[in-house]
């Protein structure tokens, strides 16, 4: 396997566009969002502010959310509305020559109509050079839920241009840490993909770790230290109910769901050292998958749902290993440095992403599963907890910025970065939720 390692440079640094959102207090907490840099190859797209008919709720407009979504992906460069020469809302009003002058490849126009407590959106996406409409739709939503309507539009626009499903309607889970009354306060939270509308699901004085989404997006498994040691819970989000599923002596950690949602991979040390097990959630029966004196942990199913990636230090330091089937003889995947851990396979079977140490810094890297080629994706240096978006095109991870822990989204070609620093305290352990049709 040839080993070539190179950093993906960001060739141009765009002027940072600071989007600052009001921080709400109480059970809903919101994250500040800041775009840090964009990629040179980003596609220029103009999201024209939608025409409005009727009273729209206060807060971000639908088109501003669409604009922010597309920019976050790192694959688009959006045009600030103040630079637009006109504000069309339908085809008749679009002068393609103007948009060509502004260097745009696509232009999105639309209108919103309020009717009772619902809002209807009609929107169209045009290819500027071909002067053709490539997407047009009418969609409706309650006036109280325009954010979801906007994310739906972003998904459609993204897919129309790239051919890949958008992930703007997915959710994030993450853990925040701050202090209350002199004691640490951990909170497991779920938010929109852009960090907005965060809701607290669990609050504890003891650490909460490793949230993992069930494939149907309805449950989170996680590790909680509330009883003084690590224990795995499965938490039903809608009902707010949870079940303790693993409380064996020693470690109960690193939960990961199977594709059918019926079993969890987990790391247990009840038999003497950290090994990987599979637990059938219905019967609670355990199957032991590794058997080695080394630390074996951080197991995750591959894209096909048949093989398992995991971290093991059986060769001296942590490296990524792969079992073709559960319990099969593991094969080592990473060789490029002395510390590679926490594998997260992309959804297409092409890559596995992980934490990689190089020259005393910890980056997010990926290995091409066919060629073995390793690429470092980040320039930040204390990275951990990568989680891949379900369309494989973005990745979120935790890193240190100015002494505090923040979440950063990058496009998986490494070209762009988008930070979600916490409004209060530290944010860590992000988990990207599934696409839910």
């Amino acid at each position: 396997m040839t080993q070539r390692i190179w950093y993906k440079p960001s060739k141009t640094i765009l002027t940072a566009i600071a989007l600052v959102f009001i921080i709400a207090s109480g059970a809903r907490a919101e994250l500040l969002i800041r775009i840090t840099e964009g990629a040179d190859s980003a596609i220029p797209v103009a999201v024209v502010p939608f025409a409005e008919s009727g009273q729209m709720p206060a807060g971000d407009t639908v088109s501003s959310v669409v604009q922010a979504d597309l920019a976050m992906s790192g694959e688009f460069r959006t045009l600030p509305p103040e630079k637009m020469l006109s504000l069309p809302s339908r085809r008749e009003e679009v002068y393609f020559r103007d948009w060509r002058l502004l260097g745009q490849r696509y232009v999105l126009v639309g209108s919103l109509t309020r009717s009772g407590d619902r809002v209807q959106a009609r929107y169209e996406l045009f290819d500027v050079n071909r002067e053709e409409r490539i997407l047009g739709e009418t969609a409706a939503a309650p006036a109280s839920n325009l954010r979801s309507l906007a994310h739906h539009i972003s998904d459609k626009v993204y897919e129309a241009i790239t051919g890949v499903p958008g992930v703007f309607s997915t959710q994030l889970a993450f853990v925040t840490l701050d202090a209350a009354n002199g004691k640490p306060r951990y909170r497991l939270q779920v938010s929109d993909v852009d960090g907005k509308r965060a809701r607290i699901r669990l609050e504890s004085e003891e650490p909460i770790l490793s949230p993992a989404w069930s494939p149907d997006g309805k449950k989170l498994a996680y590790v909680s230290f509330e009883t003084g040691k690590p224990v795995i819970f499965v938490h039903e989000l809608a009902a707010g109910k949870r079940t303790k599923v693993a409380d064996f002596p020693g470690l109960n950690s690193a939960p990961a769901w199977s594709d059918d949602g019926r079993s969890l991979l987990m790391t247990l040390s009840k038999d003497g050292n950290a090994e990987i097990y599979r637990m059938n959630l219905e019967t609670r029966q355990l199957t032991k998958l590794t058997n080695h004196w080394a630390i074996d942990t951080e197991a995750n199913w591959d894209a096909s749902g048949e093989g398992i990636f995991f971290t093991s230090d059986r060769s001296g330091g942590p490296q990524i290993y792969y079992m073709e089937t559960p319990g099969a003889e593991p094969r080592r995947i990473t060789f490029g440095s002395r510390y590679n851990a926490r594998p997260r396979p992309g959804p297409n079977g092409e890559f596995v992403y992980y934490v990689h140490q190089r020259d005393r810094a910890f980056h997010i890297a990926r290995t091409d599963l066919e060629t073995g080629e390793e690429t470092i994706l980040t320039r930040s240096e204390s990275d951990e907890s990568p989680s891949v978006a379900p369309n494989g095109r973005m990745l979120i991870y935790a890193t240190q910025q100015s002494g505090t822990s923040v979440l950063t989204v990058i496009s998986t070609d490494g070209g762009a970065a988008y930070s979600l620093p916490g409004s209060v305290g530290e944010v860590r352990d992000p988990a990207w939720g599934p696409l839910v049709r």
């Binding site: 020693g250 950290a274 942590p318 851990a341 926490r342 140490q357 951990e384």
Partner: protein
């Protein structure tokens, strides 16, 4: 202690006088030869045995050489057992040579006090991944547990838990902070 005939006579005279002088009060003799907190503790026939406790705690009854050595070792062990935190290098669970004497002292103490329990808490510095660090903290705690057992403690006295990187002793992202966080702590219950 040998008392010469001459001293015995002297003591006899003294004691007669003392008895005459303080029989009603029973307090300390006015001019006791060893200081004001020395008092008569016994009277056997005509002689008085003086005993007492000085401020430095060395009783005037003789300590044997063995007893002195045992007391010194006891004090050393107690001093060693003041140390309850043990440090590790990055990504290892190897107990350092300088920790061994201390851990032996703890092990002996546990062996001699079967009712005493201890919780061994393992930690890692913040670098790398949380889950691997959980397992690494456990490996460090287990290494200390094994050492204690080999040196006399019994398994039932020891509980281990790992906090991974979640409970640093020192905040910060410097080599110094990291070094202080790669640790095992003994918590006596």
């Amino acid at each position: 202690m040998k008392i010469s005939a001459h001293s015995k006579a002297f003591a006899l005279l003294l004691s007669v006088g003392l008895v005459a002088g303080c029989s009603s009060t029973g307090g300390a003799p006015e001019d006791a030869p060893y200081g004001s907190d020395v008092g008569a503790v016994d009277q056997d026939g005509g002689s008085t045995v003086y005993s007492g406790d000085d401020q430095d705690g060395i009783s005037s009854s003789a300590m044997t050489e063995e007893e002195r050595m045992a007391a010194r070792e006891q004090a050393e062990m107690e001093a060693l057992r003041e140390v309850r935190v043990f440090y590790f290098d990055f990504d290892t669970a190897e107990i350092k040579p300088e920790a061994r004497d201390v851990l032996v002292a703890h092990a002996r103490y546990l062996a001699n006090n079967p009712g005493q329990n201890v919780r061994v808490e393992g930690h890692a510095d913040e670098r790398g991944t949380k889950e691997y660090n959980l397992a690494l903290g456990e490996r460090r705690a287990n290494a200390v547990q094994r050492f204690l057992i080999v040196n006399g403690a019994s398994r039932g006295q020891i509980e281990t838990v790992s906090y991974g990187e979640e409970k640093p002793a020192v905040m910060g992202s410097s080599e110094s902070a990291w070094a202080q966080n790669r640790r095992v702590e003994l918590v006596f219950e």
